[in-house]
Each structure stands twice: as C-alpha cells, then as structure tokens.
C-alpha cells in the first residue's frame, strides 16, 4: 500500500513539497520550525507524522541543506522488538531525536470478538491478549463478570487461593521470560537460554494443572475450571527450591557485571511526573520510586493478608526496571510460600447453579442436569445489566477490564485496558536524546507484549 502511494506521488513532488515548506498538517516539520507548543506535544509522546508520510520521507535522499537527520524504520520484523512493534526513529548521527511507535500489526479484533462470545467462552479470548500472563487476563475478566453477577463475594476460598497461586506463578514465569529476552536484546545470549529454561519449569506446572502451557482458560467466572491435581504441592515446592539459586546465578551473570550495568544504567530514563502523566504502570512506574502496586494499594483476592514488599527503583532507568523484575520474582516466591501454608480445602468453584454446570457424575443420572449442562455451554448464562471496571496488577502493570452488559449472555462491550498499550507511549520519552544502540535496551526494559498492545 505504501509503495503504491509513493509511486503515485513521486519523489520529486515530495522533495519540492519539503523545499516549499507547505507540508500537510500531519507532515514532519523541520526542527527549526517547531514551536514550543508542538515540542510540548512531541514530548507528550507524539511524532507529528502519519505512517505513510513517515515512510515517504524515509525513502527520499537527504537534502544537505536541511538538518543532517535521517528517519529509519525499525521493525515490524526486527527480532528485538518483541513481536511486531514498529518504530520510526529520527536520528542525527547516532542520537535518537524522535521516535514514534507504530502498532496494529497484530490487531485481530479481540474486543469485537469478545462481544460475540458468551461469558463462559470469553476466557478463551482474553487469555490470548497478553499471552505471557494469560492467567492474569482470565482473572481480571472473571472478576469483572463476577462483579456484574454480584457473586464476587461468594467465590469459594479454595478458588480464591488457587487464583492467587496461579497468578503469582504466572508473574514469575512472565518475569523469567523478561530476564531471557532482556539478556538476549543486550547480547547476553546465555541468559536467554537460562530464562527460557526456568520459565519452562513453571509452564510445566501450568500444564499439569490446566492442561496447557499457555492460553489456559482455567480461571473462569465463578471459580476455576478444575481442582489442583494430586502432587501439586510437591511440584510447587520443587519450583520454589529450584528458582532462588538460579536467581543468584542471574545476579552473578548480569547484575554485578560492569558491561551489563554500563548498557542499562542511565539508559531510558523517565521521571515520576512523566510516568504518571503518560499513564505508565507496573515496573516502569515503580522504577521512578513510586510505590504503586495494586496488590497492596487496592487489594483484591487475599493480597491484603500477604506479606510482601513493593520493589521500587530510584533513577527510573532500564537497570532499575531490570532489578525490579528480578526482585519481584523473589517477592512472588515469598507470596507463594504463604499461599502454600494457607491453601484451604473445599470447593474450587461456586455452587451457584446459574454459572456452574452440574458435575459430570450428575449428568449420567439426571436428564435435567444434562439439559442444564447443555444450556450453560451453548447459551451461556445471562448477566444483569450494568457496567463495571476491574483492575488488577499484571506483571506489566495495571490490567483492567471494562464490561458493559445489556442483560444477555454475551458482553455488550468488552474492553481490556492493556498495560503494554499504554506503556509503549513512554518509548519516545525514554529514547529521546539517547543512542540508537540503546533503543533495543529501552524497548526491552518496557517489556511490551504486542498481543495485548494490538488486541
């Protein structure tokens, strides 16, 4: 599409347009012509250029009379952009002057699809958004649905604790993967293998519990899909024993290393005021020294009864974000230990006939149970009218779920506030004035998951 547009217009036309200075409103103005207000907007994460204009400008030879800047395109197929993130970078020498993230390459209309799936099926949809923390996605969707149903206070204790267990293990697996990709992006290729190795151990536990490594659809409105399998406690204890020494190895391999520190310290700095204004949450906000963790500050499930520390940084740079995630794995281990001590018995899903299908054994003996089972899985259950926004702390920040219901069995509108979608607005800030070689380190430290950016 873009190539065709370039041929239609022609390079000469563009060059003459630039020389005459009568660019369209969306075009990139020479830096000398930037007014203070426009600069302010730009600092507000906007490069005033549309995708097609940027592509055109990037193709033409540079006019030596203009600033010696160049616009390069990074992605969407760059291996270090974590999926299909595309960045337009304006460079002067090696310095990044401006940056604009361009997204949408992975847009699959999941919010629209969510309007056609029942609340029972919705979990399969939302779990695929942030595919590195699927259980947190399911959790927030289930909590929003339960709030609409008015059963959020009636979830059995075992289900609540199981949700916490899975959510924390998921946080560990997600951060372990961050360790791997962050290492890979900075050239610590050995770390990539180690991070994936440890994450795989956690996923193996998920597979045992839910049947799948990812995209579980395990946490459902009303509870969870099944009880924990026999021997689950030993598996969790194995993880809790295996991971801490490995984290010590990461410290040896990376944290204290001069090369690692030089690559990360002072790179991608963001201030607290900027992070709040841009809506950044999670490790990015905490790296600026603000203690903000929804698990502690707006507790859900039983996090208010847990003892753990909110890890914060000081400088708001990429190293702080790395260190925060590394130590959050340790905090998650602390929480999981407490969950193991307190895991109660009992039902793993609510015994409310409206949302829970009858047990398998009843179907063999009761015609009504069979009909009930069939109806719940075909028509779903109706949810009262209303609208609700529920937010929890995912590994990447605040994941929110806004559901508007019209009283039918499918959400009238399902919106997921994806932390990565908001967080990548910080990229232009963090990259401004930095080196292009650090761009990859900055992207990596934001840890975006393009599945939830584009949804």
């Amino acid at each position: 599409m873009t190539d065709r547009a370039i041929q239609d217009i022609g390079v000469q036309d563009i060059l003459s347009t630039i020389r005459e200075g009568n660019e369209p409103e969306q075009g990139l103005k020479p830096r000398s012509e930037l007014t203070a207000r426009e600069l302010l907007r730009e600092v507000g994460a906007v490069l005033r250029m549309s995708e097609a204009d940027a592509a055109k400008l990037g193709d033409i030879p540079l006019d030596p009379a203009e600033d010696q800047t160049m616009i390069i395109n990074m992605g969407p197929q760059h291996p270090s952009t974590h999926g299909v993130l595309r960045l337009m970078l304006e460079l002067q020498g090696e310095t990044v002057l401006r940056c604009k993230p361009i997204i949408g390459y992975l847009h699959t209309g999941m919010e629209k699809q969510g309007e056609n799936l029942t609340y029972m099926q919705g979990g399969t949809n939302v779990t695929r958004m942030d595919y590195l923390s699927p259980l947190n996605n399911e959790l927030v969707f289930s909590m929003a649905t339960e709030k609409l149903l008015g059963i959020d206070g009636d979830i059995p204790e075992r289900a609540v604790w199981m949700r916490m267990l899975l959510s924390e293990l998921n946080r560990m697996s997600s951060h372990l993967l961050f360790m791997a990709t962050n290492g890979m992006d900075l050239g610590a290729v050995g770390m990539m293998i180690y991070g994936w190795r440890e994450r795989e151990e956690v996923l193996r536990f998920f597979q045992k519990v839910t049947g799948l490594r990812m995209n579980h659809n395990f946490i459902r409105p009303g509870g969870v899909a099944a009880d924990l399998p026999a021997g689950w406690r030993d598996d969790v204890l194995y993880l809790l024993e295996m991971i801490p020494p490995r984290l010590e190895e990461y410290d040896t391999l990376m944290t204290g290393q001069p090369i690692w520190r030089d690559r990360l310290q002072g790179v991608g700095v963001i201030t607290q005021a900027e992070a709040i204004a841009l809506g950044a949450t999670g490790p990015i906000l905490r790296s600026t020294g603000l203690e903000w963790d929804l698990r502690r500050d707006q507790p859900y499930l039983h996090y208010d009864e847990m003892e753990f520390d909110v890890i914060v940084g000081t400088y708001g740079d990429a190293f702080d974000r790395y260190a925060i995630r590394l130590n959050e794995i340790r905090e998650s281990i602390r929480i999981v230990h407490q969950i193991l001590d307190r895991m109660p018995g009992g039902d793993y899903r609510i015994q409310n006939k409206k949302v829970t299908p009858p047990p398998r054994a009843r179907i063999d003996e009761s015609m009504e149970a069979l009909i009930h089972h069939f109806k719940i899985f075909t028509e779903g259950f109706k949810v009262p009218e209303g609208e609700v926004y529920v937010a929890i702390e995912s590994p990447r920040g605040e994941i929110g779920c806004y559901i508007a219901s019209d009283g039918s069995a499918t959400p009238y509108r399902l919106h997921v506030r994806a932390p990565s979608f908001v967080n990548i607005q910080c990229l232009p800030h963090m990259m401004r004035g930095g080196l292009v070689a650090d761009a990859v380190a900055v992207i990596s430290s934001v840890d975006p998951v393009l599945g939830e950016v584009d949804r």
Partner: protein, 180 residues
Amino acid sequence: MSDVAEPEVVAPSPMMPEPPMMHGVPLSDSHGQRVLHPTRAGYLKLVCTLLDDTFTMCADLTAVDYLTFPGRSLPDGVVPERFEVVVNLLSIERRERIRIRVQVPAEDAVVATLFDLYPGSEAMEREVFDMFGISFTDHPDLTRILMPEDWEGHPLRKDYDQGCIPVQFSTDFAARERAQ
C-alpha cells in the same frame, strides 16, 4: 442510523428522588464504583477539577456504542445518546478510582481531547477514534492506530458489518487447483 432512545427509559428509579451530585455533575453508583455523568460541554471542566483533586492518572479511556441497547440505566437528567466515552481516572494519593461517562450523539461525534491534561490519553483517544469514529478536538495526531490507514468504517460500532470469509474444507486438492 439509530433513533434516540425513548424518553421513558431515563425515568428515575422511585427509590432515588434526588440524584446525588459531585462537582455539580450527576453521580451514580455502579457496583460500588463511582460514576460521573457530565454533559459534553462540562466534560473538560469536570476532568480539570478532578485533576486538581488528586486524580493525576488517566488509567483508561474507551467508548461504547449503545446503538442496539438504548435503554441502559442512567441517572435522572442525563439524556442517553448513541455513543458514550468512558474515562477511568485514578488517584494514586488517595488510592481511589472514579469513572466518567460522557454521552456523545451519533450525528456530531466530537469530544474535547484530554491530551493537554493527560498526555497518556493520546493513544487511547486514537484507538477510540479508530474503532468508533469519535473525534477529539485538538488531538495532536488523530489518525488510525490499530487498523490500516485506508480502512473504511469503524469496527467496534454496532452497525459495522462483521463479515466472514467462508473457509472451504476439502481434501480434493485437484479440484481446488482447478478452481484457481
């Protein structure tokens, strides 16, 4: 295009004769969450007031197309329109949330931008523009964000045709090649 909802649907509930107000705007309670219903004209002023009132973060901004569900419950005095822009603000200092729902008519789907107050709303407003076709005045870069630039229509509108490409499941590969 849709008609505006019938007047009886906005009848106030008999239990609540006098709707509660906050900052001069009707306040309602949705499952324990506070929701404010400003008019379009008073929207920006309300958000300014809330920003000064420690709501320093715009957690979420989205929209809903109520084309096929005009009878939703709204507080007394709020006229339902086709679109609704929904803003979730967060006060880190007081650990509180508040929601704003602005009614936006279909024939003039324009709202003031929050960009100057919350730069982080930039991408969210672009997403709403892309998905619902609601414009934001003075937004610095109101272009499509998720869909391709030359896309027609706004996918999350309720009257947007959801097509599907029929998939032919056939193992007769020879027939398939002949068809091509």
